[in-house]
């Protein structure tokens, strides 16, 4: 067992364990922290697959920005385990069974796939140099369109989150 395989099993165990922690923990803050653990393990997978740029972007964007945003929202709403809504036992069992059945169906669909070795020779494919060349030559148009997407998402978030002016009739009714 070489270093690659050991790291693969380690990161896989961390990712699956933390993913189970996300859906099983009662406290939403713990769920967010477990999800951060899952994303870090997935970044570790990217590192051992020599996708360095994506690993760094995953850490910076997902664990650094998106999960902190989740954490801010949860702390803003003051959610904790006491006010956490719980589904009934029956619904939870049904959810686990349907998720497990989906897993079994997908496994049955792919279990005959021939195992191909992961190519460990090409170590320079994930470098930012090569990715940037392809991104700014072949994918310039999607790149620019994604900037428009970000702008519209930003405007949308501001418009949705804006405080509505209180209507006088509504104020009198209350």
């Amino acid at each position: 067992m070489n270093l690659y395989d050991t790291l693969f099993w380690f990161f896989s165990a961390v990712a699956v364990g933390c993913a189970l922690g996300v859906i099983l923990s009662r406290n939403p803050v713990n769920s967010v922290l477990f999800l951060v653990g899952t994303f870090l393990a997935i970044s570790g997978h990217y590192f051992i697959m020599n996708a360095q740029f994506l690993a760094i972007v995953n850490i910076v964007v997902y664990t650094g920005a998106i999960m902190v945003l989740f954490l801010f929202v949860i702390m803003l709403m003051n959610l904790n385990a006491d006010v956490e809504p719980q589904k009934g036992q029956l619904i939870q069992v049904a959810g686990v069974i349907s998720g497990g059945v989906l897993f079994l169906v997908l496994i049955a669909a792919i279990h005959k796939a021939s195992p191909m070795p992961i190519d460990k020779q090409s170590i320079d494919i994930g470098l930012i140099n090569n990715l940037g060349k392809v991104l700014f030559k072949e994918y310039v148009l999607p790149f620019e369109i994604s900037s428009v997407l970000f702008l519209s998402a930003m405007i949308g978030a501001v418009v949705i989150g804006k405080k509505e002016p209180a209507l006088p009739a509504e104020g009198e009714a209350q």
Binding site: V16, Y46, A51, N58, V61, I160
Partner: protein, 101 residues
């Protein structure tokens, strides 16, 4: 036991199924949103594994664009959840059934 592409296939399927289970089991809208993020990430992991397998750089750029779209989606989705919390003072999805009536 050397690691083959099928190991990554099984791992990302497992993560995807856990995400589905979480989205079906929980009632907190934020947790459901996080489970959707988990599913997106499992797909990203599989894309990177296939990019490594076929020595193809386009898959990694596709992962990059998935991350871009996910970031925009999180911004709008969390704004919707905050707005909803301001209206009904809860993030329980069982309260949000007004479209049913």
């Amino acid at each position: 036991m050397p690691v083959y592409s099928t190991h990554y296939l099984f791992l990302s399927l497992l993560l995807f199924s856990i995400g589905i289970m979480g989205a079906l089991m929980r009632r907190n809208a934020i947790i459901i949103f996080m489970c959707i993020e988990l599913m997106l990430n499992s797909v990203n992991l599989l894309l990177v594994a296939f990019s490594k397998m076929y020595v193809d750089i386009n898959a990694q750029l596709f992962v990059f664009f998935i991350m871009v779209v996910a970031a925009a989606e999180v911004a709008v989705g969390l704004a919707v959840i905050v707005m909803m919390y301001r209206k009904v003072h809860s993030v329980d999805i069982n309260i949000l059934n007004r479209l049913k009536h």
